[in-house]
C-alpha cells in the first residue's frame, strides 16, 4: 500500500465518523495539528489558573474562596486530561512543558489580561469559561478519540465554572452602586478579549479548512463566535448590565445579532507576546516549575527507596 492508500483509508474513516485512536495510522500533519492544538489547550488550562489563583486569598467570603479553589483545582485537572491526550500522539510530557516554558508553545491569549477586581473572577467564569465551553462542546465530537474523551470529561465539569461566575456577577449586579459599577467595569474589560478567544476570522485562519476536513474542528471560528454573542446578549439582560458594543443589533434576516469589529491589532499584539501579562504569566510558570524541583527529587528518591525495599502499596490487595 502506498501513502495515498493510507491517506484514503484515513479520510474514509473520518468521513464515516469513525474515531481515530492512538495506534491507528494517521497523516503526520494530522498528528502535528492535534499535538499543537491539544497542547495549546492544555497550557491554557494551566496558565489559566494564574489570574484566578491571584484572588483565592482575597475572595470576599469563605464560600467564594472554597468555590474558587475548587474551580482552580478543576483547571489543573483539565490540564492533566489534555496533556495525557497529547502524549498518546507520541510527544513526552517533558517536551510539552518545555515548549511552554521556552515560549515556543502558545496558550490562549485571554490569560494575558490582568484580574483587577473581584468582579473579574465572575466575568471570567461567565464570559471566558462561557466562550471556552462553546469550543469545548464542539470538541467532544472531534475526530481524535483521546481528545474527544478528555473533552467530555472537561465539559461535565466546566458548566459549574460558568454558572458560579454568572451567579457571582448576579450578586454584584443586585448590590450597592459601587458593586454594580464594578460588575459593569469587569464586563467592559472582558467582553472583547472573550470574543478574541475564538481566533481570527475564518478568512484569515490558516488552520481552519484542513481541520474541518479532518473533523478536528466542526464549526468555524466565526460560527462559534456568533453563537457566543447571541447567547450573551440574552444573558446580560438578566444582569441588567450592558455589553460594551454600540453596534450590537438584532439582524432579522440573518436571525443573529450583528456586532462590532474586534480590534485585531490588539489581538495580534497579545498573540505575539506583547499583552499586558504575557511575561508575568510565563515567569510564574517557570518559577513554579523551578521551585517544585525539590519535590520532584524527593518523590523520586522516595520511590527509589521503596523499589529497593518494597512494601505493598495500600489498596493493592483489594484490587485482585
Amino acid at each position: 500500500m502506498s501513502v495515498q492508500d493510507f491517506d484514503k483509508i484515513f479520510q474514509d474513516k473520518i468521513d464515516n465518523e469513525i474515531k481515530i485512536e492512538p495506534k491507528d495510522w494517521m497523516p503526520d500533519a494530522y498528528r502535528k495539528t492535534n499535538i499543537r492544538q491539544i497542547s495549546q489547550h492544555a497550557h491554557s488550562e494551566i496558565v489559566g489558573m494564574l489570574p484566578e489563583g491571584n484572588w483565592i486569598s482575597r475572595a470576599p467570603s469563605l464560600k467564594r474562596k472554597a468555590i474558587l479553589i475548587a474551580k482552580v483545582q478543576d483547571e489543573a485537572g483539565h490540564g492533566l486530561y489534555l496533556y495525557s491526550a497529547c502524549e498518546t500522539l507520541g510527544i513526552t510530557r517533558e517536551e510539552t512543558i518545555n515548549d511552554l516554558h521556552s515560549g515556543k508553545a502558545k496558550y490562549s491569549s485571554i490569560f494575558n489580561y490582568p484580574t483587577l477586581t473581584w468582579a473579574d473572577i465572575g466575568a471570567i467564569g461567565w464570559l471566558v469559561d462561557g466562550a471556552a465551553i462553546m469550543n469545548q462542546v464542539m470538541l467532544t465530537r472531534t475526530s481524535y478519540g483521546p481528545y474527544a474523551r478528555a473533552m467530555v470529561r472537561i465539559c461535565k465539569e466546566e458548566s459549574f465554572h460558568q454558572r458560579q461566575g454568572f451567579e457571582s456577577l448576579l450578586v454584584l449586579s443586585r448590590g450597592t452602586k459601587e458593586q454594580k459599577e464594578m460588575c459593569q467595569d469587569a464586563i467592559n474589560r472582558w467582553w472583547w478579549p472573550a470574543l478574541m478567544m475564538f481566533g481570527p476570522h475564518d478568512s484569515e485562519s490558516t488552520n481552519s479548512e484542513q481541520s474541518m476536513k479532518w473533523k478536528i474542528k466542526r464549526k468555524t471560528n466565526d460560527e462559534l463566535r456568533q453563537n457566543f454573542v447571541d447567547m450573551c446578549v440574552d444573558q446580560v439582560k438578566v444582569l441588567e448590565m450592558k455589553l460594551p458594543d454600540e453596534k450590537l443589533k438584532w439582524n432579522e434576516e440573518r436571525q443573529h445579532y450583528d456586532f462590532g469589529e474586534i480590534n485585531w491589532d490588539e489581538f495580534w499584539q497579545v498573540v505575539k507576546g506583547n499583552g499586558p501579562c504575557n511575561k508575568q504569566r510565563l515567569d510564574a510558570r517557570r518559577k513554579a516549575w523551578e521551585e517544585g524541583e525539590w519535590v520532584r527529587e524527593a518523590a523520586a528518591a522516595h520511590a527509589e527507596k521503596r523499589r529497593v525495599k518494597p512494601q505493598t502499596p495500600k489498596g493493592a490487595l483489594e484490587a485482585a
Binding site: 507520541g90 513526552t92 483521546p146 518523590a299 523520586a300 502499596p313
Partner: protein, 123 residues
Amino acid sequence: MMKDFIRKFYYGDIPEEKGGNNNSPLGDGGKSDWPLWEVFIRSKQGLDHKHVGSLHATDAQMAIENARDVYTRRMEGVSIWVVESKHIHATKPEEAGELYEPAADKIYRHPTFYDLPDEVNQM
C-alpha cells in the same frame, strides 16, 4: 512497505509493553518524566472498573493518590485501580482483520437470527 509509513508510539491510552516512560524509571534521579500509569475507576458497587485516563507518578501509591485527586473529585468512584502503562499488552490495529473479522459472518450466534412464532413469548 508498511514499515515506512507506520510509526509506533508507546505512550498513553492503549500502550504496548514499552509503554510509559522507560524501563528503569527514575534512573536519572527523576529529572525526566515519571512513569505513566493507566487509571481505572469503579463508579459504584456492582459495576466494572473502567479506564478513565492516565497520569504520571513515581510509584503506585502516588498514582492512586493523584488519581483520587484528579478523577474522583465529584464522587465519580468508589474504587481505583492503577497499572503502569508498560504492563498493558494490546492488539494492534493492523491485526484487526484476522482477529475480529471471523466473527462477522457468524450471525447465527445472535438470538435475532432465529425467527420464532409469536406464541413463543419471552425467549
